[in-house]
């Protein structure tokens, strides 16, 4: 994080970014706990450690803009303002969930907020992001699409098809690669022949700020703002590679045998929340009492989400057939 002598924004804006990151962190920790208790089934992919990317980038969007993401998308959903209650209820598989319990952790949607899905096939959201950009251009509604995907998607054919077409047709799409260094348990150097992912951008004639620090919420916000502005002005897509690290395993089922504890520790020490907190303290924007109050506020929201999810019913069986066709 850049060392600054004075704040660049209002204190309330700093607090808001910190609150959002902390909410995601605590929500995910609680989700892990609920998974261990058997309240959540299937796969649960936690976003812990990557919070600065969701919060920084989504803060650069307008309400009418679109987001598509991957299966590690709880953080993006919360950063977009989706109700923690409904997200938790979806993880619980309850009727009060965002998809009434039919989508689960990997398939969160909130059409009212332009959050058009978590996609659980690696790279599968990229062609759809191109289409949202194409539709926006065709309809002339000036919406920008923010597309999240991981470093694992880079080796899929759809990655290349999508970058090419978005650039060829000059579409308003921001491709944001969350490079956490691992595709499930495989380190990127074992699966990717290149050196830097962002170098694909110039290959396709696409705008890029290069690799940014995904642990720095301000750097992510600034890069995304520029990219969104570029798209909104009709100048086409941008490719951002944000370097980050997931503090937990690929999913709750991950025994984490493929990486060293020292590596994990190193990244934890430069995590997005601790850095933001230190930064705010240095600027005199946060004291211990305020931090405690924030923790308490977030804990209350998360507990309320769990209570809501627990109280919500499972859909009746005859609703299984609903929503197969519109």
């Amino acid at each position: 994080m850049k060392v600054l002598s004075k704040p660049l924004m209002q204190k309330s804006e700093y607090m808001d970014l910190l609150r959002q990151m902390l909410l995601i962190r605590r929500f995910e920790e609680k989700a892990a706990e609920m998974y261990m208790r058997g309240k959540i089934g299937g796969f649960l992919h936690l976003y812990i450690g990557e919070e600065a990317i969701a919060v920084g980038s989504i803060s650069a969007l307008q309400p009418q803009d679109y987001i598509v993401s991957h299966y590690r998308e709880h953080g993006h959903a919360l950063a977009r303002g989706m109700e923690p209650r409904k997200v938790m209820a979806e993880l619980f598989g309850r009727s009060g969930g965002t998809s009434k319990g039919k989508g689960g952790s990997m398939h969160l949607f909130d059409a009212s907020r332009g959050f058009l899905g978590g996609y659980a096939i690696v790279g599968g959201m990229m062609p759809i992001a191109v289409g949202l950009g194409l539709g926006a251009k065709h309809l002339g509604n000036n919406r920008v699409t923010l597309c999240f995907f991981g470093d694992g998607a880079v080796n899929e054919g759809e990655f290349h098809e999508s970058l090419n077409l978005a650039a060829l047709w000059n579409l308003p799409v921001v491709f944001l690669c969350e490079n956490n260094g691992y595709g499930m348990g495989s380190p990127i150097q074992d699966t990717f022949a290149g050196t830097d992912i962002f170098r694909f951008a110039p290959v396709y004639g696409m705008n890029t700020p290069g690799q940014i620090d995904g642990m720095d919420v301000f750097e992510v916000m600034d890069a995304t703002k520029e990219a969104v502005d570029h798209a909104r002005k009709g100048r086409g897509p941008t490719f951002i590679e944000a370097k980050t690290y997931r503090f937990r395993g690929h999913s709750m089922a991950d025994p984490m045998v493929y990486r060293k504890k020292t590596e994990e520790e190193e990244w934890r020490n430069k995590g997005p929340i601790i850095r933001m907190k230190d930064h705010m303290e240095e600027l005199g924007l946060l004291d211990e009492a305020e931090m405690q109050a924030l923790e308490a506020e977030v804990d209350e929201i998360v507990q309320d989400a769990v209570d809501f999810a627990d109280a919500s019913s499972v859909l009746p069986h005859d609703a299984i057939y609903d929503d197969v066709y519109a």
Binding site: S99, H107, G117, I128, V130, L134, H138, D322, D323, Y325
Partner: protein
């Protein structure tokens, strides 16, 4: 009622759509400058311009995925996959996204997308270019699959497909583009999904079929008539949903059934139709249901071998004879 070709009918209904709905646009490989691999979009680029007739790279997955995204965002894309063989490069988007987004979002999003593609063999294009894979898509809940055999059915079904809020696989056949028939140009003339059409009435045997095999079946029925067997030809038109009622009604009348399809027999349309007959009309059958399908091999290139693989009138007639 004018008689026009299947190609012209599809071309005409596409123009009607583009003329009437500014949200609509088309995209696909070589549909613009080249005017379509089967010349369906001849003249479209000049008439509608490159913003609505979009030539794409050879990137099937993003062609379909971009169609899905544009449809979700309120546009009305009509996507062309040059042949159903190439749809395998887009099957992830079709099956994992288009078919499921409405369900997985708890009904929040819809994907009103028409995917036009071309199925079948008969052009000496060998194994990778001659498949009839519509049954694969008909397997998947969340998709609609239609396969018209006549110009009129093509127009009526396309109008329904375009107006439907779901993703529809619209399966054309490469050997039918020159087939002529009368059409109804009234934009309100639509054919609902899941409604079969009795293309020929008969009392003695029911032939259930679709797409080009409807024509082969009609030819066989004509010859059977000469020997005193009157076949009823039921053209399914929609594979998903499938008109079980029409099949059962006809079988109850004739007590004999043959299913004719161009795809392979194992796990195919004929297997599905046979099961529906067994479930709903077993007691009416005088003989086991017969299946006529392509031989269970990859399509060979040489003309006589290719002809031997695909069902023809003789094989339909032989199957009917086995019932008596």
């Amino acid at each position: 009622m004018a008689s026009i070709t299947y190609r012209k009918a599809i071309s005409r209904v596409l123009k009607e759509t583009l003329d009437n709905d500014p949200r609509s646009f088309m995209m696909g490989e070589d549909i613009g400058t080249y005017e379509g691999a089967y010349a369906v979009t001849r003249g479209f680029l000049d008439k509608y311009g490159p913003e609505r007739i979009k030539d794409t790279p050879i990137s099937e997955s993003v062609i379909v995925g971009a169609g899905i995204g544009a449809a979700m965002g309120g546009a009305r894309p009509i996507v062309e996959l040059m042949t159903i063989n190439f749809s395998l490069l887009a099957i992830d988007q079709i099956v994992n996204s288009a078919a499921k987004l409405h369900y997985m979002s708890g009904g929040q999003v819809t994907v009103p997308l028409v995917i036009r593609t071309v199925s079948g063999g008969g052009n000496q294009l060998a194994a990778s270019h001659s498949q009839s894979l519509e049954g694969w898509y008909a397997h998947v809940p969340g998709l609609f699959v239609v396969a018209p055999s006549t110009p009129s059915d093509a127009m009526g079904l396309f109008r329904t497909a375009y107006r439907d809020p779901n993703t529809v696989m619209f399966i054309e056949h490469s050997l039918l583009y020159g087939a002529k028939g009368e059409v109804n140009d009234d934009p309100d003339f639509t054919i609902p999904f899941g409604k079969a059409d009795v293309k020929r009435e008969g009392e003695d045997v029911t032939i259930i079929t679709y797409s080009r095999m409807a024509h082969v079946s009609l030819g066989a029925a004509k010859r059977l008539s000469e020997e005193g067997i009157e076949a009823e030809v039921v053209d399914l038109r929609s594979l998903r949903p499938m008109d079980t009622e029409a099949i059962v009604e006809s079988v109850k009348k004739t007590s004999r059934a043959v299913v004719v399809e161009e795809g392979w027999k194992p796990m195919g349309i004929g297997a599905e139709v046979s099961a529906r007959i067994m479930e709903n009309a077993l007691e009416y059958l005088d003989a086991p249901v017969q299946r006529v399908a392509s031989l269970d091999v990859p399509m060979p290139y040489a003309r006589p071998l290719e002809q031997a693989v695909m069902p023809d009138e003789d094989r339909v007639i032989e199957a009917v004879h086995r019932l008596f």
